[in-house]
């Protein structure tokens, strides 16, 4: 039987395709358009933290080093008020197979896919995750298809994206290189239906469970060396899985006083589905174009309910400019003798700014690094930006204008970032939830879920809803 492959027809078959390709019946957990049994969904994966660590060890994932950035900490202390300047630590996630924390995320999906007899797995992604899925699939003897948004309508791909696609092919994946647009999801559905492969979505409970070991390792390593829990963990934030999994792992390890700070590169003003804007941004993830929409509407993901729910775990949200991240990337190389890629350096930038405001005896952890190399490098990105007509200069980073000007700070003092209001995010979350399900229909269960999902109590929620 030939099925209708038009956009509307395929989207209408979304739920059945998802069910077959994930083996999870989300209906069992969903209680209303805004609420579901999140903890039971996570628990029903059947994996303990130890199970996950053991599985990850089989495929070169986890047990990554935690480095103290001594010279960068000194440089921060030199410009901090007396008694300020926390120790900056860096969790070197680039050491995972495929070069980023995304290997943790892909590892459990690959294990599940193999165990349940799927012939292969598929993921739609901006890049690092594709490389992680391809690498884990290779080690489990599974076939792999990666769908990646690579080109604008002129066939131009920015260097970092091209590099990430290359890495997927290097691990033996079939890579579909697509032009700009949200129809990536349509292609994902079509390909899942055609191949009956496993859907290695970024947002399944398996994906998020795989990241929990990262949080747990941070707690263990910091305690062993500094005899305290980490005071702050800074997490680069896009779709929210990185933050969710890390925070859950820290909590599971008992580090419940640690502040979880999200960080994204500020790309406000650029439209993520715009063919023109696509090649006028120098960051391909960890930016506000994903970070804000996913924080305020997590269920916009490619699964019926998203297991990545960042507002549930987030204490603060810091924004940094492209120029600030490039400055700090360069400092990391020159002061610490290591080169690492853009996503981890985003949280490093926020950590450098934050450390100045924290006490000397406190510890701030930059929760990840990612690999770097041709294309995936700040020099490549800046050189490309210049070719695309973006102005690049040194100066006051507050003069950055996404898509027009990248201003690289002149001095470390100018690396401050800015604050994203948490309450604004929460209100925006509530508005989205109210659109999905009118507030007057919300039950007590709905209210309890929504309050927990924005890390507040029901009293706060009731008052916020009155003012909505």
């Amino acid at each position: 039987m030939k099925r209708d492959t038009s956009y509307a027809a395929v989207m209408a078959r979304k739920n059945e395709i998802m069910k077959a390709s994930l083996g999870i019946d989300y209906e069992r957990y969903i209680s209303s358009p805004v609420a579901f049994d999140y903890e039971r969904l996570m628990k029903d994966t059947g994996y303990s933290l130890d199970d996950i660590a053991r599985t990850q060890r089989e495929t070169k994932v986890g047990d990554t080093p935690l480095f103290e950035l001594t010279r960068l900490t000194e440089a921060v202390r030199a410009i901090s008020p007396r008694g300020k300047g926390a120790t900056i630590l860096l969790k070197d996630e680039a050491a995972n197979a495929s070069g980023s924390f995304k290997a943790r995320r892909a590892s459990i999906s690959a294990y599940e896919a193999k165990k349940r007899g799927y012939a292969g797995m598929i993921a739609a992604t901006s890049g690092n995750y594709g490389a992680a899925v391809a690498s884990q699939a290779a080690m489990r003897g599974l076939k792999c298809i990666i769908l990646q948004e690579v080109y604008d309508s002129q066939g131009i791909g920015q260097p970092e994206i091209v590099e990430k696609g290359r890495k997927c092919e290097a691990f033996g994946a079939e890579v579909h290189k697509l032009t700009v647009g949200p129809e990536l999801f349509y292609c994902l559905l079509l390909t899942l239906e055609e191949t009956m492969f496993f859907n290695a979505s970024l947002y399944t409970p398996f994906g998020i469970k795989g990241i929990e070991t990262l949080g747990a390792e941070i707690a263990t390593q910091v305690r062993a060396r500094y005899r305290r829990d980490p005071d702050v963990v800074v997490v680069t934030h896009a779709g929210g899985g990185n933050l969710t999994g890390t925070a859950r792992g820290l909590l599971e390890a008992g580090a419940d006083k640690t502040r979880i700070v999200a960080c994204s590169v500020d790309l406000s003003g650029l439209h993520m589905a715009s063919d023109r804007d696509f090649n006028r941004k120098s960051f391909t993830t960890g930016h506000t174009g994903f970070g804000i929409p996913f924080a305020t509407l997590p269920d916009r993901a490619d699964v019926p309910r998203n297991a990545a729910r960042s507002l549930r775990y987030m204490d603060d949200y810091r924004l940094v400019t492209q120029g600030e991240v490039f400055y700090v990337t360069e400092l990391l190389a020159k002061l610490e003798g290591i080169e690492r890629g853009p996503a981890g350096n985003t949280s490093l930038t926020a950590a450098v700014a934050l450390a100045r405001t924290l006490d000397r005896d406190q510890v701030v952890v930059v929760q990840e690094t990612e690999y770097t190399g041709a294309g995936k490098h700040h020099n490549a990105q800046l050189s490309f930006a210049r070719k695309m007509g973006i102005e690049v200069r040194r100066g006051d980073p507050r003069e950055n204008v996404p898509g027009k000007t990248i201003v690289i700070p002149e001095r470390l003092e100018q690396v401050t970032g800015s604050e994203q209001s948490m309450d604004k995010l929460r209100i925006s979350y509530l508005k989205n939830a109210a659109k999905a399900h009118p507030v007057k229909k919300w039950t007590d269960t709905d209210k309890a879920f929504v309050a927990a999902d924005v890390k507040k109590d029901v009293a706060w929620l009731e008052s916020a809803l009155r003012e909505l």
Partner: protein
Amino acid sequence: MSTVPTGTWVEVERVVLRPDQRAPTIPEDTARTPYVMRVSGWLLAPAALGQPARVRTLIGRELEGTLKTIAPSYTHSFGEVVPELLDIGTAGGKP
């Protein structure tokens, strides 16, 4: 036009959605363009550039498209030097 022999590593291109078939909510600049996919594989029968072609991919699947590139390669690099970066974190020396 000369044909490319069977077994050559090539890239084919396919229009997945014409502009009129695209998702309803996309920005106007994107909506004017077709949604296009490229994939690499070994050519399964001789074909000429710009003509229909069938390939077998790295995982052994067979896909069709228009023959776009012979021996597609990666040429991304570290880019041209960005002088603005050079003196960051150095002990000085820039005149």
